[in-house]
Each structure stands twice: as C-alpha cells, then as structure tokens.
C-alpha cells in the first residue's frame, strides 16, 4: 500500500484537492446520472411520453400564436413549426436542466449530510440527465423534417458544438441558482417564474431577426439567444444567419455565468452540510 497520500483537512484548505477529487469521484458522477435517468424512465411510458409532449405541444401553440395569428416571419422559407421546434429543443433542455439543478442539492440533502464528495457533481449530473430528453425531442425533430420534407444542411455537423454551449450555459446559471437556492430556501418559488419568463424573452417562438438591428447586441445579453441562434443556424442551414457580434456577446455572458456559478458554488458548498 504505497499509495498513501497524506490528506490535510484545514479551514479553507479543500480548494487544493478539489479538481483532483472531481476526477477521482467521476464514477459517482456516472452513477448518480444513471440513477436519475433510471428512476425517471422506470415508469417508461409516462417518462418518454412527457419528454415528447411538452416541447411538441408548446411548439404547436407557438406556431399558431406567433406564426399564424401574429404573422411573424420565419427564417427564409423554413416551415414555422420547424423553426420554432429547432429553438424549442435547446430551450427545453436548458429550462429543465436549470430547474432540476436548482433543487438537486436540497433533494440530495441526505447524501450531502452523510458522505463527502465534490458537491458540484450533484447539479452537474442532474443537468446531464436531461440529455436523454434532448435526444428524444431530437427524434421528433427528424420526424417533423420528414413530414415537412425539409432537407437539413451540412451545418448539422456543428450541432454538438452548440449543444456544448447550451450545456455550459445551463451549468453556469444552474450552479449559481443552486447555491442561491440552498442559501435562501424561498428562492425556489422564484425559479419557475424565471424559467417561464425566459421562454418569452428568448427567441423561441419567433426568429431573433425580428429584433431591430440596434437592439440585437443588447438582446444577446441573454445567453440563450446565442445558443438558439446557433441551433437554428445548424438545423435550418443558411436560411438562418448568425449575428456574429451578438453570438460572441452571448458566449461572453455564458462564460461570465460559468465562472460566477462555479465560484459561488465553490464558496458556498463548504457550508452546505451545515445549513441543509
């Protein structure tokens, strides 16, 4: 047994091993994600059906309200339904990831007060869990494309990149909200409202090209604007152009939240076991 490392426990010392520990505990990360996925789909029919219905119905309603009634323009000649659905996929992922992450620490209070592991595993694994729903709704997109006889372009190969951006955005905002939620336990009442608001503030039901040019940079302060524009660009092909300064702005805001989220989380997590 030569692997004996001396571990030092001291106030404020945990920092040094943190990222190493994160690697050491990667199996716990897999298994927690696996647990959440298994539990969610144990009642298979309802789990899968819900993953299909929620984004699909919202898409139908948005298409009717924004496309038919408000007569907002689509990107190029793309069917409005596909344009909405292309944004609905990342939005759905983002919003459920955020709400799952925000309650994850409180839901796993039992674990946190009894076992040590890098706490950030908990919200991150609850974000990753939503990947399955993402895949399911992607299948629906393919069916929609076949229905509308819509040919995707080669831009599709960049989709994983934009998905990664979506994951990082969710991780940043998610960890930030998670720490607030542990500290201020009544914060959870605000989260559904924020998510609801985000759906209308983000260009889900409409194309971001309807935003007047001079406001677009400002509009891109919402990091989901960049993600959604990216998804539309990749899925709809050239018909939906990316507004580059806005995209970079969204990326910047995403990075800001990622750093803020991880930093806040790291600062607060030491006290999680005491306050939970």
């Amino acid at each position: 047994m030569k692997s004996e490392n001396t571990l030092i426990i001291e106030a404020g010392r945990a920092e040094k091993h943190y990222w190493l520990d994160l690697w050491r505990y990667r199996e716990l990360f897999y298994i927690l994600s696996w647990r959440d996925i298994t539990v969610r789909y144990k009642q298979t029919v309802i789990g899968v059906l819900w993953a299909i219905l929620k984004p699909f119905l919202t898409m139908v309603i948005f298409t009717i309200i924004f496309g038919r009634l408000a007569k907002l323009p689509s990107d190029g000649n793309t069917p409005y339904a596909i344009m909405v659905y292309a944004a609905m996929i990342p939005w759905q992922f983002f919003s459920s990831a955020i709400s799952d992450a925000s309650s994850s620490i409180v839901d796993n209070a039992q674990l946190i007060s009894k076992v040590y592991f890098p706490r950030i595993i908990v919200p991150i694994s609850s974000i990753v869990t939503n990947f399955i729903d993402f895949l399911i709704s992607f299948v629906i997109l393919i069916i929609l494309m076949i229905y509308f006889r819509f040919m995707p372009s080669w831009h599709m190969v960049f989709l994983p990149v934009f998905f990664m951006i979506a994951v990082l955005t969710a991780a940043g905002i998610g960890t930030y909200i998670t720490s607030l939620n542990v500290k201020y336990r009544d914060f959870r009442y605000i989260i559904p409202f924020l998510v609801q608001l985000g759906l209308y503030v983000s260009p889900v039901g409409f194309s971001s090209s309807v935003i007047p040019g001079k406001y677009r940079l400002l509009y891109s302060l919402n990091p989901m604007v960049g993600v959604i524009d990216g998804f539309r660009w990749a899925i709809l092909g050239g018909k939906s152009a990316i507004y580059l300064p806005g995209f970079l702005m969204s990326l910047g805001v995403m990075l800001f939240f990622l750093i803020l989220g991880v930093y806040t989380f790291r600062k607060m997590e030491k006290t999680f076991a005491d306050v939970i």
């Binding site: 571990l7 076992v115 040590y116 201020y184």
Partner: protein, 423 residues
C-alpha cells in the same frame, strides 16, 4: 517514520445560531426585509439597535489527538458533546473552523446505513449505487458482489425494487455493502443502533474482523458494551472538548463518573400516570431515583455492582396496607424481573410522605438498556403506576471475579446464579 495515521491539532468548529428563527437557512424575504429596515433606520436617522441576532456556538474546541495505524478507537460522550461533528469533520462532510488534521490513507465513513438507497431501484442497482457513494470503484463492487449478496441473504430479491423489501432485508443489504468496504481508515457512527440483536451481533463481529485486518477504526457509540468489546482506546468528549483519552476501562469509568446528575432521577409528578384512579386514591408516587454504591445519582451501572433505588410516595390514609412493585423491562419491552415490597416483608408505610430505599447489592442483569416501571397499590388495588418511570443501562464489568465476556449476552435478561458440579 511514525505510524500515526490521523493527527488532529487544535480542531474547532463553530456554528452560528440565529435567535430570531429556528430555521437553519436564510430566507430571501428576511434578507430583503432586514436590508430595507436597515435603509429605513439610516434614512430616518434613528439610533440603530446593536442587538445581536446570532450567537457563536463552538461544537468543538481545541481538539488534539493522534491515532496510530491499526488502532481501534471508541469515541463516547453525552448527546451534544460533539461526537458527530468530529466524525463529520474527519469524513470531510464539513470543514473545521480552526485547526488542522492530517490523515494518511483512504477514509471511508459510515455515518448511516444505506445512504443514498433509492426505493425505486432494485437490490442489484442499489448495491452499485451505494457502493459508489461510499467510495468503491465499480471494479471493486463487481469483485465483491457475490460476497455482499451472500452476507445480506437477499439472492432471491436482487431484481426487486428495494421499496418492496422488508425493513430487515433493507438494513441487511445496506450493511452488507458497507461491511465490504476496504478503506485503510473506517469511521463508523452509531449505525449499530439499528436492527435486531442478531443483526447487531453480525455487525460487531464483522467490525472485529475488519480491525483484525490491521485497519484503523473510529467508532462512535452510546453502547458501552460494544465499545468495550471492540475498541482498545477511547476518547471521551465533553462539551466539545476532550475529557479523557486513553484505555477503555478508565475511559468508561470517566464517562460514568461524569454522568449528568439530572440523570438517575425522575420526578413522577411531571409524568402521566398510567393508572390514575378517579376517586379513592390512597397512595401516590412522587419520585424515583437510582444511586450507586456511594449514594451518587447514576443512570449507568456496572454488572455485578450495586444499584440502589430511592422512592418517595405519599400515603393519604393510615390504615391501608401499601404494596410497591418495581418491574424491569429490557429494550424489547419484555419484563425481565420484579422487585416486590410484599415479598421482602416491607410494610413500614405511614400517613404522609414516605421515603425508602431498595438495595440490589449485585446487579445480575446482562449488559443493555433497561426501563424501570413502578406501581403502588393499596388493598390490592393499584393506585398509581408508571410504565417507564426511569431508565438505566447496564454495562459489563467483573462479575464474581470470573472473567466472562458478558457483552456477548446482550439482551439475555439476567444471569441466574446457580451451582455447577460434576457428578
């Protein structure tokens, strides 16, 4: 090279207790309200009150100890003495506020049986989940899977969700996973308090096995019997500080000497009588007290030692014949013995408040926790009765000078003296 595996220097842990609310977490509305109040007082220029709403509480203060490779150390102390906090710091669940600990080797802590078990998942799935939570790798779990299943005796139900398990099966499975951890240092909280006697024995023998393999074990318990059979060293925590550190025998003595004096006494007038007759009450119990051989109030007694019970009761009428009975119940609620005033021919009760004392010179109860119940009757009719008037615990000690490991007979009621001879 020293073989010290854990060295703790000046460990302290402070908690901040809010006096305003009982909640341990803040509410956003309170923060906003307080901020607004702050702004208001500033604007209005009112002198602001400097009343403190939070108070520092040191759960642990200046703890120093060293634990060597292969040591089996028991940590005892009253509730709130800081045992759990110390374990939480050692297992890195919470950070110390001050001080420093260096630990050599992998630590596995078992603060609860079945942490993270998910009711929807099957037994098989939960073994992997719980194993990972306790810090085992998948390879390790795979290697020990059969052993775990054998230990838990749940082969048939491996693919059944654990929500359908009986509570016994659940605990067995949970402990089986924990029992197959192979850390260099094992930290165990009062997990043995769960389950039946059979199960507790299994756990204890497994822990003995673990420590024989040369691992270091830290064990917190209220069960002196378990501590004295498992540990070679003891740390007594007292109000966040180390009260004693050293060998088990003196440690337990120290702990008992230091017993809370409120223990060993029960004012029965505060309790609800089980049999309060509506009328014609002749006698009424007032208090019961348990004392050791030097007449000190005590709630823990050594087997073979002396137990004295002091009783106060009030008699309203002169010419009634009063009888008192004390029954002893073990923690499985079965009565293991009875003390009877009539059997000893004790009749000296007069009108007014009576005090009397019962001596049991040699306690022959087996180690364990017991409840004393008491009743008083006049003219063969019970006037006043308490099912659980006071509780005591018996710990093993020298009995008759013959050394027998009485801890093995936890839950066996009492030892009946008998003469043995060859014929």
């Amino acid at each position: 090279m020293s073989d010290v595996v854990i060295r703790a220097e000046h460990i302290g842990k402070a908690y901040f207790i809010g006096h305003q609310s009982n909640e341990r977490y803040a509410a956003l509305r309170d923060v906003i309200a307080n901020k607004t109040k702050g702004i208001c007082t500033k604007l209005c220029g009112r002198p602001h009150h400097t009343h403190k709403t939070t108070e520092e509480f040191w759960a642990l203060k200046d703890i120093n100890f060293e634990i060597k490779q292969g040591d089996r150390v028991g940590i005892i102390g009253r509730n709130g003495a800081g045992k759990s906090t110390l374990l939480k710091i050692l297992s890195r669940i919470t950070e110390p506020t001050s001080g420093r600990i260096s630990i050599k080797g992998r630590v596995a802590s078992l603060l609860e049986v079945g942490t993270g078990f998910h009711p929807e998942l099957t037994g098989r799935e939960n073994i992997y989940l719980n194993g990972a939570i306790l810090g085992m790798t998948r390879q390790e779990i795979k290697r020990k899977f059969d052993e775990i299943v054998n230990f838990a005796e749940v082969e048939k139900f491996l693919d059944t969700p654990v929500k359908r398990y009986s509570s016994g099966m659940y605990v067995r499975l949970a402990f089986a996973v924990a029992a197959h951890l192979e850390p260099e240092i094992l930290v165990v909280d009062e997990v043995l308090a769960v389950g039946d006697t059979q199960f507790q024995k299994k756990c204890l023998s497994r822990m003995n096995e673990v420590s024989r393999e040369g691992r270091t074990v830290l064990f917190v318990s209220h069960n002196m019997a378990a501590i004295s059979s498992l540990c070679q060293k003891i740390i007594v925590l007292k109000a966040g500080k180390i009260g004693f550190a050293g060998d088990v025998e003196s440690g337990i003595d120290h702990y008992l000497d230091d017993a809370d004096h409120a223990k060993g006494f029960a004012d029965l007038r505060d309790k609800k009588s089980k049999l309060w007759k509506q009328h014609n009450i002749i006698s009424k119990l007032l208090s019961i007290e348990t004392l050791d051989e030097i007449d000190k109030r005590q709630s823990s007694f050594k087997m073979g030692g002396c137990l004295k019970i002091k009783i106060q009761l009030e008699v309203m009428d002169d010419k009634q014949d009063i009888e008192v009975g004390i029954f002893i119940r073990d923690n499985r609620e079965s009565i293991v013995g009875l003390l009877l005033s009539a059997a000893e021919g004790f009749k000296n009760m007069k009108k007014g408040v009576n005090s009397f004392q019962i001596d049991m010179p040699e306690i022959n109860l087996m180690p364990g926790d017991y409840n004393l119940g008491i009743w008083v009757a006049s003219q063969r009719e019970v006037d006043d009765a308490y099912e659980n008037a006071i509780s005591i615990d018996i710990i093993s000690g020298g009995f008759d000078g013959n050394y027998v490991d009485y801890d093995r007979f936890h839950g066996y009621g009492s030892l009946i003296h008998s003469r043995w001879k060859a014929i």
